[in-house]
C-alpha cells in the first residue's frame, strides 16, 4: 500500500466497504479466503514451454492458496470432476484456473464451480497459454516466470472476488422484424408459426422487397413474384403478424427482452381498414407519376399500389403529385376509405427481440462516366432490364430500346460496374454474375439466332448449388463470354443509330470490342439508404463497407453485438435469395431463443452506482456508448441510474466518474490495483 501510485490513493477508501461483506460471505474463518489453483498442461500446448510443476509449486506459496495442482485438461469432463472434488475436500472458496483464454472457457469453469456449490463469480482465470506458452516459445524460462506473474495476479484478484447474483430480465414475447423483403418475410413467418406475435415494419408501401420486382430467379428460372407472392399473402393473413407498412422506425429504447420501439406510420390518405384494394380510385385518378417499382421506366397513378401483388393491398395517395380533384373519393363511394386529413401517426410497441432485414440499395452508375449511363439512351441497369423483360412490366415484357422502341438484335452485359473497384466498392456484389447469366439465357432462349448476347466479365462467380450448371447452360445457348480486365473499359455511342460499342482489354492487354444495340450494366448493390440511420437507432455497428456488422463472421453471422437484435439477408452483406431465406429463418430461431424464455439472464458484471457519492454530473452519461447510464431525479437529488439490460460492463463510466461513485463488480479499483501490485512485485524485488 505504501508504494501505491498517487492517483489511486483515493480509491482505497471506497471499495473497503464492499470488501467487508465479500470477505464475510466467502470465508467465515479469520484467516481469509481459501484459494485453489489448477494449472492446465493443455497437452503440450502449455506444458512443453511452461514448467507447470514449478508453476504449481509456486502457486502453493502464494498467500491464501491452500491447494494447487496441475492436470492435463481441466476443461474435460474428468478435469472438471477433479476440480469439484478438490473444492469440496479442501473447502475452497475461490478457484483460479491457469490455462487458456477466459473468452473460450470461463463459462465452462463457472458452471463447474457452481456444481461444487460455489458462486460462479468466485472464479478467476489466468491465461498462461496465449500470454505465456504461445508467445514465448523460444524462451521457456521467461515464459514460466511470466506464467507465475499471471497466476500471482489472478490470485491477488481472487482474494478480493465477491459473490454475485445473475440478473434476470423479463421477456416480452413479441418480436419486431424491420424490413419486409424475402429475408424478413421468412423470419416473420417462422416466428409467427412458433406462436410469437410479430410486428413487421416496412418503409415502403408494400412488403416483398427487391424479389417482388424481379422477373425470374436463377438458376431455375422460376417466376419471382409467383414464388414470393404467396409468402407475402401468408404474411398479410397470418393471425400473429401485424404489418406496419409505409412506416419508419424512429427510436429504439430498452434491451434484450424489453425493447420499446417508436414507429411513425406515414399517412397513405387511405384508411387501410376500409380499403378493399379494388382499384376503382386508381381508374378514376387523372394523374400519373414515375413508378419506383418500375425503376421509373413506367408510371403509376397518384392513388395506386406500386404493383399488382402488393401486400397490403391498401392504396396510397402521393400528395407530391395529387391535384386533389377528389375523383377518387367519388369512386370509392360508400366504402369511404379515402381521408385527405390523415396525419402521420406515432405508435410505440414493446418487443423482446428485433430482427433487422432491411436489405440493400442499388448504386447509380451515372457517376461512372465510362458507362455512358444517363447519357446514352440504350444503356440500362440490370434492374431496369428486369422490369423491361417482365411480362407485367411497363413494356408488357417487350425488351425494347429507349431510342427507337425497337427490339435490339444484340445486347451486351457488362459485369462489375462499381463493385470490385477499390475506388468505388471494393466488395463483390455477389449475385450479379448469376442474374446476368439469367438475363442472357432468357434472351438467348427466347430469340435464339435473332439475338447476339455478349457478357463482358472478369471472373464468373457461380459457386452455389446448380449455379455452375446454369453457367454451362448459358455457354451452350450461344451467349458469347468476353473476358476483360476491369480497367480501361468504356462504351461509346453512335449518334446516328444510337448503337453502342463496348471496348475492353483482354488478359494479354489486347483490345477487344463488340457493337451492341443495347447495353445492360451489372451495377453494384450497395448498403440500404436507411442503414446508417438505423445503425444509430439500434446502436449496432456498420462495417466500413456500410453493411451491418455481425457479432462473429463465421459462427455468429446473424447476431449483432447487441443481445436481442439479429440480422438477416443482404443488410448484413450481399447475398442471393436462398441464402437470405436461410438467414431469415436462422435469425428467427435466434430471436426465438430469447422469446421462448420467461426471463433472460445476464451476467451481473454491470456498473453499480453509489448514490451517496454521485453528484449527478452526467459525465458517465456522455461517456457510455450504450445509453446504459442515465441521470435521474431521486427526491431532490440527481443520481446516475444504470439500465442493467443495456450495460455491457465495459467500465468506461467507472473510469470517467470524477466522484468514484461508479464501480464495476469484480473489476473494482481495489481489485485492479491488487493485480497491478501483484504483477509489479517481481520487478520491485529485483530493483
Amino acid at each position: 500500500m505504501k508504494s501505491m501510485p498517487r492517483g489511486t490513493r483515493k480509491n482505497v477508501g471506497t471499495p473497503r466497504k464492499e470488501r467487508k461483506p465479500g470477505q464475510k460471505k466467502a470465508g467465515p474463518k479469520a484467516e481469509g479466503p481459501r484459494i485453489g489453483v489448477f494449472v492446465c498442461q493443455c497437452g503440450s500446448n502449455i506444458a512443453s514451454i511452461v514448467d507447470v510443476d514449478a508453476l504449481t509449486k509456486y502457486a502453493q506459496t502464494l498467500p491464501n492458496v491452500v491447494y494447487a495442482e496441475n492436470m492435463n485438461y481441466p476443461c474435460s469432463r474428468q478435469g472438471q470432476d477433479e476440480i469439484i472434488v478438490a473444492i469440496k475436500k479442501n473447502k475452497l472458496d475461490r478457484v483460479v484456473v491457469a490455462g487458456c483464454s477466459p473468452r473460450l472457457y470461463e463459462p465452462t469453469f463457472q458452471s463447474c464451480v457452481s456444481r461444487a456449490e460455489l458462486n460462479p463469480w468466485l472464479f478467476e482465470m489466468a491465461n498462461i497459454r496465449e500470454f505465456a506458452s504461445y508467445c514465448h516459445q523460444t524462451t521457456p524460462e521467461e515464459a514460466t516466470e511470466k506464467a507465475k506473474d499471471t497466476v500471482r495476479m489472478a490470485v491477488a484478484k481472487a482474494r478480493l472476488l465477491q459473490a454475485l447474483k445473475p440478473i434476470e430480465l423479463p421477456v416480452t414475447k413479441k418480436v419486431m422484424v424491420i424490413g419486409g423483403g424475402i429475408a424478413g418475410i421468412n423470419a416473420a413467418l417462422d416466428l409467427a408459426d412458433m406462436g410469437f406475435k410479430v410486428y413487421m415494419v416496412e418503409k415502403t408501401e408494400t412488403i416483398g422487397g427487391y424479389m417482388a420486382l424481379l422477373d425470374k430467379t436463377f438458376p431455375t428460372l422460376d417466376c419471382s413474384i409467383c414464388i414470393e407472392g404467396p409468402k407475402m399473402v401468408d404474411v398479410g393473413r397470418h393471425p400473429n403478424i401485424e404489418i406496419i407498412s409505409y412506416a419508419d422506425v424512429l427510436k429504439v429504447d430498452g434491451y434484450v427482452g424489453n425493447f420499446k420501439v417508436k414507429i411513425r406510420k406515414n399517412p397513405r390518405y387511405v384508411i387501410a381498414a376500409s380499403c378493399t384494394g379494388c382499384g376503382e380510385c386508381r381508374d378514376a385518378c387523372p394523374i400519373e407519376y414515375p413508378n419506383y417499382a418500375d425503376m421509373y421506366l413506367g408510371v403509376r397513378k397518384a392513388i395506386s399500389i406500386p404493383f399488382d401483388q402488393a401486400v397490403p393491398l391498401t392504396h396510397t395517395i402521393n400528395r407530391d403529385y395529387c391535384i386533389e380533384c377528389y375523383k377518387c373519393v367519388d369512386a370509392c363511394g360508400a366504402r369511404e376509405a379515402i381521408n385527405f386529413d390523415q396525419k402521420p401517426e406515432e405508435i410505440e410497441v414493446n418487443v423482446g427481440a428485433i430482427v433487422v432485414t432491411i436489405g440493400y440499395g442499388m448504386y447509380d452508375p451515372k457517376d461512372l462516366a465510362w458507362t455512358g449511363y444517363g447519357r446514352f439512351s440504350n444503356v440500362f441497369t440490370a434492374l431496369e432490364f428486369e422490369r423491361l423483360i417482365l411480362a407485367a412490366g411497363p413494356t408488357g415484357g417487350k425488351v425494347i430500346r429507349a431510342s427507337d422502341g425497337q427490339k435490339p438484335h444484340s445486347v451486351a452485359f457488362i459485369q462489375c460496374v462499381g463493385s470490385r473497384d477499390i475506388n468505388k466498392f471494393e466488395y463483390c456484389s455477389s449475385f450479379c454474375c448469376m442474374y446476368t447469366l439469367k438475363h442472357a439465357v432468357m434472351l438467348k432462349e427466347k430469340y435464339r439466332e435473332a439475338i447476339e448476347v455478349y457478357v463482358f466479365y472478369n471472373d464468373m462467380r457461380s459457386n452455389f448449388k446448380g449455379y455452375e450448371e446454369f453457367f454451362n447452360r448459358a455457354q451452350k445457348s450461344g451467349v458469347k463470354f468476353v473476358r476483360v480486365k476491369l480497367e480501361n473499359r468504356r462504351i461509346t455511342e453512335d449518334p446516328q443509330t444510337k448503337n453502342l460499342t463496348v471496348f475492353g482489354e483482354n488478359e494479354d492487354g489486347k483490345p477487344v470490342s463488340a457493337e451492341a444495340e443495347m447495353v445492360v450494366l451489372a451495377n453494384a448493390a450497395i448498403p440500404s439508404q436507411a442503414a446508417s440511420e438505423l445503425a444509430k437507432i439500434l446502436n449496432i455497428p456498420l462495417g466500413k463497407d456500410g453493411f451491418f456488422v455481425e457479432c462473429q463472421p463465421k459462427i455468429r453471422p446473424t447476431d449483432t453485438e447487441v443481445p436481442g437484435i439479429f440480422l438477416a439477408g443482404a443488410c448484413q452483406g450481399l447475398k442471393d435469395i436462398p441464402y437470405s431465406v436461410a438467414q431469415g429463418s436462422a435469425a428467427a430461431a435466434q430471436a426465438a431463443c430469447v422469446l421462448s424464455k420467461d426471463s433472460w439472464t445476464v451476467e451481473p458484471l454491470v456498473a453499480k452506482v453509489n448514490e451517496e457519492l454521485c453528484s449527478g454530473c452526467r459525465v458517465c452519461e456522455s461517456a457510455c456508448g450504450y445509453h446504459a447510464i442515465n441521470v435521474e431525479k431521486v427526491g431532490d437529488k440527481s443520481v446516475a441510474k444504470v439500465v442493467e439490460g443495456l450495460c455491457r460492463g465495459c467500465g468506461i463510466c467507472s473510469s470517467a466518474c470524477p466522484m468514484d461513485a461508479v464501480t464495476m463488480p469484480n473489476y473494482s479499483d481495489i481489485q485492479i490495483v491488487a493485480q497491478i501490485q501483484a504483477v509489479m512485485e517481481r520487478k520491485l524485488k529485483k530493483t
Binding site: A284, C285, P286, I287, E288, Y289, P290, M295, Y296, L297, G298, V299, A302, D320, Y321, I323, E324, C325, Y326, K327, V329, D330, D364, K366, Y373, G374, F376, S377, N378, V379, F380, T381, E384, L388, P394, T395, A402
Partner: protein, 313 residues
C-alpha cells in the same frame, strides 16, 4: 435509360420534360403568347409556377412578368394549359395534346363562346383580320368555283356578292376580348367572355407618368393614355381579366382588379374548386357552388314533377 427530367429556357419558350422509357410528358410555354398574367401560377395545384416581376430601367417601358416553372414540383397535369387565356401553355403526353384531367372530368373545359358568321363579314381582308389584337382571325374569299380572291375590294358589287367567305378563328389562343364583335359589322362575330370580373383604374393614385399597366396589356384597346390628364384609363368592355396589369402595377390601390367568374363546362372537382377560389375569391366560389346546387335541385324537382304529370295524364 434512367428517368430524365429536363428543363429548357430560351428567349422563345420554356419547356419541361419527363422522359420515361415508355412515356414522354412535355410542357411548353410559348413566351411570345404569354402575357405574364398570374392565372397559371394561381391555378397550379402544385404551386410549381412562379411569376417573376421584371425590373424596369428608368424611362423604359415596363416588361411583362416572366413565368418560371419548378421542374421538381410540376406533375404535368395540364391545368395551366387549360386555364391560360392566351393558350400559351401546351402540355402533351407522347406528343399528343390529350389531357387526362379533362378526360377523367377532374377539371372543366374552358368555354370559349366564339361564333363567326362569315356572311356578315365585310369584303375586306385588312379590315376584318386586323380588328383582332391577337391576329387570330383569318378570312378567306373565293369565287364560286373555288378560286381564292386576294383583294375583294377590286371587284364590282355583284362579283363581290357572289364571293364565298370563310372565316377561321384560332379559338385555342383567343382570350375572348370581344373587340372583333364590337368593331366588325353587327352579327359578324359573337364572343362571350371567358373570364368575367372588374377592372377600374383610380387615376388619382397612379404615380406620375406611369404607364406600366398599359405597357404590358396584350390587348390593344383595353387601356389607353388620356390626353387630358396623361394618365392611363380603362375601357373595361374589352378586358379579358387576365390580370397582367395588376402584376406590374407599382401601387396597390391604383388598380382595382378582380375576377369573378370563369366560363367553363360543368364539373365536380376539388381541384377546380380550389383553382376557382384562387382565381376569383371564396365568395365567388361559393356563388358557383350554390348555383350548381340550385341547378341540380331545380333539375331533380323538374324531373319529379314531369314524371308526376305523366302519371296524372
Amino acid at each position: 435509360m434512367p428517368l430524365q427530367t429536363l428543363k429548357k429556357d430560351t428567349a422563345q419558350e420554356l419547356s419541361l420534360e419527363w422522359v420515361l422509357h415508355i412515356k414522354n410528358y412535355k410542357l411548353n410555354l410559348d413566351k411570345n403568347r404569354c402575357a405574364g398574367c398570374q392565372i397559371c401560377s394561381l391555378a397550379c395545384p402544385k404551386e410549381a409556377i412562379r411569376i417573376e416581376k421584371q425590373s424596369k430601367a428608368h424611362g423604359e417601358k415596363a416588361q411583362k412578368a416572366k413565368v418560371d416553372i419548378d421542374l421538381s414540383k410540376c406533375n404535368f397535369c395540364g391545368i395551366c394549359d387549360i386555364l391560360c387565356p392566351y393558350g400559351a401553355i401546351s402540355v402533351t403526353v407522347d406528343g399528343k395534346h390529350l389531357l387526362s384531367v379533362l378526360d377523367k372530368e377532374s377539371f372543366p373545359q374552358m368555354v370559349r363562346d366564339i361564333k363567326a358568321a362569315a356572311s356578315k363579314f365585310p369584303m375586306d381582308h385588312d379590315r376584318s383580320e386586323d380588328v383582332c389584337p391577337m391576329e387570330l382571325i383569318k378570312v378567306h374569299f373565293s369565287t364560286a368555283d373555288g378560286k381564292p380572291v386576294e383583294d375583294p375590294g377590286s371587284l364590282n358589287e355583284s362579283e363581290r356578292r357572289a364571293l364565298k367567305v370563310d372565316v377561321e378563328v384560332d379559338k385555342e389562343h383567343c382570350p375572348c376580348c370581344g373587340i372583333c364583335e364590337a368593331k366588325l359589322p353587327q352579327g359578324a362575330m359573337h364572343v362571350r367572355k371567358l373570364l368575367s370580373g372588374k377592372l377600374a383604374i383610380k387615376s388619382e393614385k397612379c404615380p406620375p407618368e406611369c404607364t406600366d399597366c398599359l405597357d404590358v396589356c396584350p390587348i390593344n384597346g383595353v387601356l389607353y393614355l388620356s390626353d387630358d390628364d396623361k394618365k392611363v384609363h380603362a375601357n373595361e368592355m374589352f378586358c379579358v381579366y387576365c390580370g397582367a396589369c395588376k402584376v406590374v402595377c407599382p401601387v396597390d390601390e391604383a388598380l382595382d382588379f378582380k375576377r369573378t367568374r370563369v366560363n367553363h363546362t360543368p364539373v365536380r372537382s376539388g381541384a377546380w374548386n380550389k383553382a376557382l377560389e384562387r382565381l376569383t375569391s371564396p365568395t365567388d366560389l361559393t356563388k358557383e357552388l350554390k348555383a350548381k346546387g340550385s341547378l341540380k335541385t331545380r333539375e331533380s324537382v323538374k324531373k319529379r314533377m314531369g314524371l308526376k304529370g305523366e302519371k296524372h295524364a
